[in-house]
């Protein structure tokens, strides 16, 4: 055992990569006066993460290869899985904020597609949508951070964040919100629990790999976060709340997968907590260990049917307590003697002690087994400490948290409160627990305070516009045009939001599409009216690409008669639906699409004007994605819902749809292709 530990430590010591960086010019945004580049770098952290993601990814792929054999669409599934894994690779290798952001969004988008593998299943759609929208909030915060960084430093290198300025604090704070949405932290955790409608391998890769992206990003920027003590305190508090809440809720779930989901939430909270303490190498180790364990638990979820309940053994407290103290003391003493740098945070030591105590208390039925268990626990703990030490030496990012004593007091009070709560919980009858869970449901609050009011506004608007006769509608249209003509950003954005609210509640596909088109035209007008030097060019760019997408959609809509309607297989997406979904998905600002370029440029422009406009425009983008996803879910993913697209597609339409999609992709990845053509 000791030899293995030593080899691990030695290996980690030898691992001393000088940072290798490379800049890729394919994705250029040279259309701007400032240089925006994608940058990739390879250092120790990314190497370790690469190995981890590669391992988990290959395990999931191996599993899925056999697991999905019966599925007629298995190749699509594997392709999407590979896409997801590569997006995570991209994030791990990213060398600046912009690259990280693009990878971040690609992860979200590919996960959305994977969660929709059973696209005909409304609950799967719904949970995927919820996940995407919540992540979108984080994405927009991240984008703001990126844009702020560009506006301040003309570049997005990580190293620029080192200075302890207030701008940097804002940037890091915004990035932390993104981390919270991705890693299911406290107020944003609600998406995690619902995503069980996808095949097990998706759950496994999500809970073991993708969700860790937040912890990785925090570690990547760890040394900069350390400058801002209050930020660290917030991170810590969010982490511990999530951790306790997740584990607490996991106790009261009775089915395997939901229990696992809540447990993931708790573990993510713990990871963020470790980051908040400045113990970044512990966080990375936790991320890896948790990934292995959770992947195993998800794969093995089918065999939990016959769960053995163990008979209770008399609770001994004293002996296990002494043994725990002894183990912890000896392990730490030995590691200091061996001059290994280990955990220096007492909080983490307390957590370790609690775990060891529980194991010894419940696993030891007699003195002999207690001794064996203690010995095993000691070895495991020692290996862990050495691994942490090695990792810490390799990564060189751990910080000394200056406000430690403050944190300790806060933590102790929180733990005390939580323990009190548990005792209270346990005493009460089970229905009280469920009632409390219902009461604490964040989702109900979201629905009550955000979702339902927006819906209501939409309904009121629709109901108000419906009975109007034509002249009145024309009058309103004229007023709208006049308002638009004022070129007032605020008016335009407000109108755009109203239009999108209407689209969200429109009852028919045609009216939704109509409203989406109007909203997009308004966005083009906003681009036109912005103060950016390339505004006209950008507007034309957006107009051209949007028109091409619209053309593609129109071609799919044209009624045609090509013989008998084919048999609809519920689990097969007809080509018409597929093309329409891709085209609509191109509208919401996913990287590699033109709408992303526009979004980025407009953000860049608005950040210099006023944060208010930035918020408004973020709302527009959020609502747009909500509307588009809603449309996809209601009309396109379920083949039996709308008969129009079920008809076979002529080769011309096939070809033109492909051409349009490829054109948009090309222009989205390499905007100057189109930009240089536009003369203004």
């Amino acid at each position: 055992m000791l030899i293995t530990c030593k080899t691990i430590v030695n290996l980690l010591h030898q691992l001393d990569l000088k940072q290798i960086t490379m800049t890729i010019p394919i994705l250029d945004y040279t259309i701007l006066p400032i240089g925006l580049t994608l940058k990739f770098s390879l250092d120790n952290l990314s190497l370790i993460m690469l190995c981890f993601v590669g391992f988990i990814g290959s395990m999931v792929l191996l599993f899925a290869w056999r697991y999905m054999k019966h599925d007629i669409h298995r190749y699509r599934f594997h392709f999407q899985l590979v896409c997801l894994i590569f997006s995570v690779f991209l994030l791990v290798l990213s060398g600046n904020l912009l690259t990280a952001f693009i990878a971040w969004q690609l992860i979200g988008a590919s996960l959305y597609v994977l969660l929709n593998h059973y696209h005909y299943h409304p609950i799967a759609n719904k949970s995927a949508k919820k996940k995407f929208i919540i992540n979108r909030i984080g994405d927009l915060c991240f984008l703001t951070a990126v844009v702020l960084c560009i506006a301040t430093y003309q570049s997005t290198d990580f190293s620029l964040l080192a200075a302890p300025s207030s701008t940097n604090a804002t940037i890091l704070g915004l990035i932390f919100i993104a981390v919270m949405t991705k890693s299911a932290q406290f107020p944003f955790h609600i998406w995690l629990i619902d995503t069980m409608e996808a095949p097990t391998p998706v759950s496994a890769i999500m809970h073991a790999g993708v969700i860790n992206a937040g912890g990785f990003l925090l570690t990547r920027l760890g040394s900069y976060y350390l400058e801002f003590t209050s930020l660290m305190l917030i991170i810590f508090c969010i982490g511990i709340t999530t951790a306790l809440l997740g584990q607490l809720l996991a106790q009261y779930e009775n089915d395997t997968k939901k229990r696992l989901a809540y447990s993931t939430m708790g573990q993510m909270g713990f990871m963020i907590l470790q980051c908040g303490l400045g113990a970044f190498s512990s966080a990375i180790f936790h991320l890896i260990a948790h990934g292995f364990y959770k992947a195993y638990l998800f794969f093995n979820a089918g065999s939990t049917l016959n769960k053995t309940t163990y008979a209770k053994t008399p609770n001994k407290i004293l002996l296990p307590l002494i043994m725990t103290a002894l183990i912890v003391f000896v392990a730490f003493f030995a590691s200091t003697q061996l001059a290994i740098k280990t955990i220096d945070s007492p909080i983490l030591v307390v957590f370790i002690a609690i775990t060891l105590f529980t194991i010894l208390r419940s696993g030891a039925s007699c003195l002999k087994s207690l001794c064996i268990l203690s010995l095993v626990s000691f070895v495991i703990l020692f290996v862990y400490l050495m691994a942490i030490g090695g990792l810490s030496d390799t990564l060189q990012i751990d910080g000394h948290f200056t406000l430690k004593h403050e944190v300790i007091t806060i933590m102790i009070s929180i733990i005390a409160l939580a323990l009190l709560g548990i005792v209270y919980y346990r005493r009460k009858s089970p229905y009280i627990r469920r009632a409390l869970i219902e009461k604490c449901s964040i989702e109900a609050q979201y629905r009550h305070f955000i979702l339902n009011p927006t819906r209501k506004v939409g309904d009121v608007l629709i109901r108000g516009l419906m009975p109007l006769n034509k002249p009145l509608k024309l009058l309103i249209a004229a007023i709208v045009v006049a308002l638009l003509a004022t070129q007032n950003l605020f008016v335009m954005m407000a109108l755009c939001i109203l239009v999108l609210l209407i689209a969200n509640r429109a009852a028919r596909l045609k009216s939704i599409i109509f409203n989406i088109v109007i909203a997009n035209l308004m966005i083009i007008a906003i681009v036109w009216a912005s103060a950016s030097p390339i505004a006209p060019k950008l507007a034309v760019y957006q107009l051209v690409t949007f028109a091409s997408l619209l053309l593609g959609l129109a071609l799919l809509f044209i009624p045609r008669n090509l013989g008998k309607t084919p048999v609809i297989k519920q689990n097969t997406l007809p080509w018409g639906h597929f093309y329409a979904s891709v085209i609509l998905f191109f509208l919401i600002g996913v990287p590699t699409t033109p709408s992303f370029v526009t979004e980025l440029m407009l953000f860049l422009d608005l950040v210099t004007q006023s944060p208010f406009y930035l918020v408004l425009f973020s709302m527009i983008m959020l609502l747009l994605s909500l509307v588009v996803l809603h449309t996809l879910q209601t009309y396109f993913f379920n083949p039996s819902k709308i008969e129009h697209f079920n008809r076979p597609i002529s080769p011309v339409v096939h070809l033109s749809s492909i051409v349009i999609i490829v054109f948009n992709l090309m222009v989205g990845i390499h905007p100057s292709l189109l930009f240089n053509l536009i003369q203004y």
Partner: protein, 801 residues
């Protein structure tokens, strides 16, 4: 009134067994008093499940010659005759013209067949009329409560459904409290008043209640099943259908009040437009046909054939009957072929007794081909009713139908190979359950999971069970008489009471799968969804017991010392036969015989494995299938089961039954008073029917009676599986057992019971027992006597009776 409504709708709630002893059952078992055609749809209740495949499928079968022309004609004739008799028409030749017309109509390629089943238009519940997201809430909340309740129930913390949900719901607000406070202890009165407050008219009460309970049919069925086949006395207190209904109605009333729906009652039925549409197709076809016919025929068609009420469903039933007839006629023809001379029993040194399971059939053929070994079929519980106390609950090793049996207790010794494993497992599981300890647990132990990940993914073989199990039955003065009777009847049924080989192996069967919640659906159905190992072991123990043998002498059965019974287990997944609990201190001769038998069986297993490997979808080594945790189709179970043949093996030995038939041995000459046949009818026939109908309905109506996709299953420990996040408890078999890449691999046929016994004896037994009579008369199964060529179909029965 309300009471009758509840009784009426609870018939439609299927019996759902907990997944850890998943017994296949007919989901419409309480409706067998009606013909299958009527039981599957009730327009008055708005109840409709699809009992047949779609017309397109049948037509494709016909084109592929899977449905024979003659069978189709026969089936149409039956239908037309029945129709005309019902309609009291009796012109000469009327039937012939109509049937040939109908035949042309059904096989006409230009007729539009509906490519998808018309979706039944179910009445809308009140919450369903509100927007989708708001509907989800009560629906999910109730499922959550059912789940919570059952878990609480099994741990014994909460026994009463009402005291469980009422206080919880009260905390949600004033609106809820008002409704809950108005509820009383009397469930029927509650339902009546709630229905009244919801404003549902009395004539739609039944339909509304059925619709409401149908959303929770899994939970309701689980409670119903536990109440009917209780394992403990506490199970009788489980929630009733009335209580679930009250819960639903409360939610409906609150959402009605909260949303202030102006016109609450949009609860109405819409007629299935397809029905009338199909009839118009038929009328049009008749008109077209008239053009080429003589005057008299034309007149006849116009007056009679067009009046024939032809609906899509009826045509589907004709097709279904035709495909069954095709199979049955073929089977009968091959069975009646002159067989090869039976080998005299004297040179057969050993015999093996298998379960009636269709999977045994192929194995038996393989063994018989290798060596002259007699094989017999007997219901896998071997007539023994006993229970084994397990780690968590008691396993009842016999069909749950035998409710009046008082089980004998058997003991099981489990000696774990590694004693510290349990301690470690306990330590990990209990530290996972705490609030504060799991965090570092993942840190400390997580890394080691990577090793397990690699091994389980790359080397699926090499996992062995960590416990040795051995079973014992204490034979004492109290139970010995009972056991002797069991032994006697087993030997009599097997025709072994006079003459038998010196070595007889009782072979139970079990399935070996990894990471599969549906494992018990692959186990022995006759053993209550458990492995048949212990039944074989205990049966041999009884028959080898000296005291039992002495008592058997009194009954005229003499077992000499040299005769030996040994247990065996057939692993249906890997197609291996193993020999549990081997007996020591045997004579040399006996040992030699056992050795010989084992060698022969081993060879037969190899042959069988080769056959099976190629027959499964995506060929793969059987061993890997059984051990791989990513394998969703470890074996196909009782797929394509369609017949039960009751008779001596000599009749079926020459025929390859393709693993589609249950085989029960029976010798009519041994059974003078018909008592053996009667017990076969009451046990194995019904068990086979349950298995058959589970496969049948899971295939024809997978949405209602199938348990959906295995990849998204979410397990509730010791209870069952849900789909995804939170759903109803799933009923029936999963998609992967019945379909492969969108193709159906199970052909649903109703059970065909073919008996080598005199017709009168069969008739007498069927008439004696009401459920059997109902099953036969109402077309749930088809019974036919081999000696008598007259088909005893339900039609005949109706004629005579």
């Amino acid at each position: 009134m309300i009471k009758q409504t509840i009784e009426n709708i609870s018939q439609y709630v299927p019996l759902v067994f907990p997944l850890n002893h998943y017994v296949a059952s007919n989901p419409l078992w309480d409706c067998i008093d009606r013909p299958i055609e009527e039981a599957t749809q009730d327009p008055e209740l708005g109840f409709k499940v699809s009992p047949t495949l779609i017309l397109d499928d049948y037509y494709r079968f016909y084109c592929d010659k899977k449905i024979g022309k003659n069978a189709l004609r026969q089936s149409i004739d039956e239908f037309v005759k029945q129709q005309f008799e019902l309609g009291a028409y009796e012109p000469t030749g009327a039937c012939d013209i109509t049937s040939s017309l109908l035949f042309d109509f059904m096989t006409d390629s230009s007729i539009v067949r509906f490519s998808s089943k018309s979706e039944t238009q179910k009445p809308l519940l009140i919450s369903q009329q509100m927007s989708e997201s708001e509907f989800d809430e009560p629906y999910f909340k109730i499922k959550q409560q059912c789940l919570d309740y059952l878990t609480q129930f099994s741990t014994g913390t909460e026994r009463n459904f009402d005291t469980f949900w009422r206080p919880l719901v009260r905390t949600r607000g004033k609106l809820w409290a008002n409704v809950v406070d108005s509820l009383t202890e009397d469930e029927l009165a509650n339902i009546a008043s709630l229905l009244n407050q919801l404003g549902i008219p009395e004539n739609t009460h039944k339909a509304y209640c059925l619709q409401a309970i149908w959303q929770f049919k899994g939970w309701a069925g689980l409670y119903k099943c536990k109440r009917r086949f209780p394992q403990t006395t506490a199970d009788l207190n489980l929630a009733s259908i009335e209580q679930i209904l009250t819960l639903w109605l409360t939610h409906e009333l609150v959402s009605l009040r909260a949303n202030k729906v102006k016109n609450p009652l949009c609860f109405e039925f819409t007629q299935d437009s397809h029905l009338t549409h199909f009839h118009s197709l038929w009328v049009a076809f008749c008109k077209r046909a008239c053009e080429n016919l003589s005057q008299t025929s034309q007149a006849f068609i116009q007056s009679n054939a067009q009046a024939l009420k032809v609906s899509e469903q009826q045509i589907a039933w004709i097709w279904q009957r035709a495909i069954e007839l095709t199979y049955q006629n073929d089977l009968e023809k091959t069975l009646n072929k002159p067989t090869v001379q039976e080998k005299p029993a004297s040179d057969q040194e050993a015999a093996m007794v298998f379960c009636i399971d269709v999977r045994s059939e192929a194995m038996r053929r393989a063994i018989e081909e290798v060596a002259p070994i007699q094989t017999h079929g007997f219901a896998g519980f071997f007539g023994l009713t006993y229970s084994v106390a397990g780690q968590n609950d008691t396993a009842f090793q016999y069909p749950p139908l035998l409710t009046d049996a008082s089980p004998i207790r058997a003991d099981v010794d489990r000696t774990p190979c590694c004693p510290y494993e349990q301690g470690a497992a306990k330590a990990i599981s209990s530290s996972k359950k705490q609030v504060l300890s799991p965090f570092s647990l993942f840190d400390l132990g997580g890394i080691y999971a990577s090793i397990a990940l690699v091994f389980k993914n790359l080397l699926p073989q090499g996992q062995t069970a960590c416990t040795n199990e051995s079973y014992h039955l204490h034979i004492n003065d109290e139970n010995i008489d009972n056991l002797v009777m069991v032994a006697k009847s087993v030997l009599q049924t097997l025709s072994m009471d006079k003459k038998r080989p010196k070595l007889i192996a009782f072979c139970g069967h079990k399935a070996h799968t990894t990471n599969n919640p549906f494992q018990s659906s692959l186990e022995c159905g006759a053993c209550g969804g458990h492995a048949g190992t212990s039944n074989a072991v205990i049966m041999c123990q009884i028959l080898n017991d000296t005291r039992v043998r002495e008592k058997l002498k009194e009954h005229g059965i003499t077992l000499i010392h040299d005769e030996l019974f040994i247990p065996a287990v057939h692993n249906t997944t890997t197609e291996e036969i193993t020999w549990p609990q081997e007996t020591t201190d045997l004579s040399k001769e006996q040992q030699g015989r056992i050795k010989q038998l084992k060698e022969n069986v081993k060879q037969a297993c190899k042959e069988r494995q080769k056959q099976k490997k190629s027959s499964l979808p995506h060929p793969r080594a059987l061993n890997k299938r059984a051990n791989d945790w990513a394998e969703l189709v470890p074996e196909l179970g009782l797929i394509n089961n369609s017949a039960l043949i009751i008779g001596p093996r000599s009749k079926t030995q020459a025929t390859n039954l393709e693993g589609r038939a249950f085989l029960h041995c029976y010798d009519q000459e041994q059974d003078d008073d018909g008592s053996i046949l009667e017990s076969i009818f009451l046990g194995p026939v019904v068990v086979a029917h349950w298995i058959n109908s589970q496969y049948y309905f899971s295939t024809t109506d997978h949405i209602n009676y199938g348990s959906g996709n295995k990849t998204t299953h979410n397990i509730v420990p010791n209870i069952g599986v849900m789909q995804g996040n939170l759903s109803d408890i799933q009923v029936g078999l999963p998609t992967q057992s019945l379909f492969y890449r969108n193709e159906r691999i199970h052909l649903p046929l109703r059970l065909f019971v073919y008996i080598y016994a005199p017709q009168e004896r069969i008739d007498g037994i069927i008439a004696k027992h009401a459920p059997l009579k109902q099953l036969v008369e109402n077309h749930w199964i088809v019974v036919k006597a081999a000696s008598n060529q007259q088909q005893m179909s339900a039609l005949k029965n109706k004629e005579t009776g």
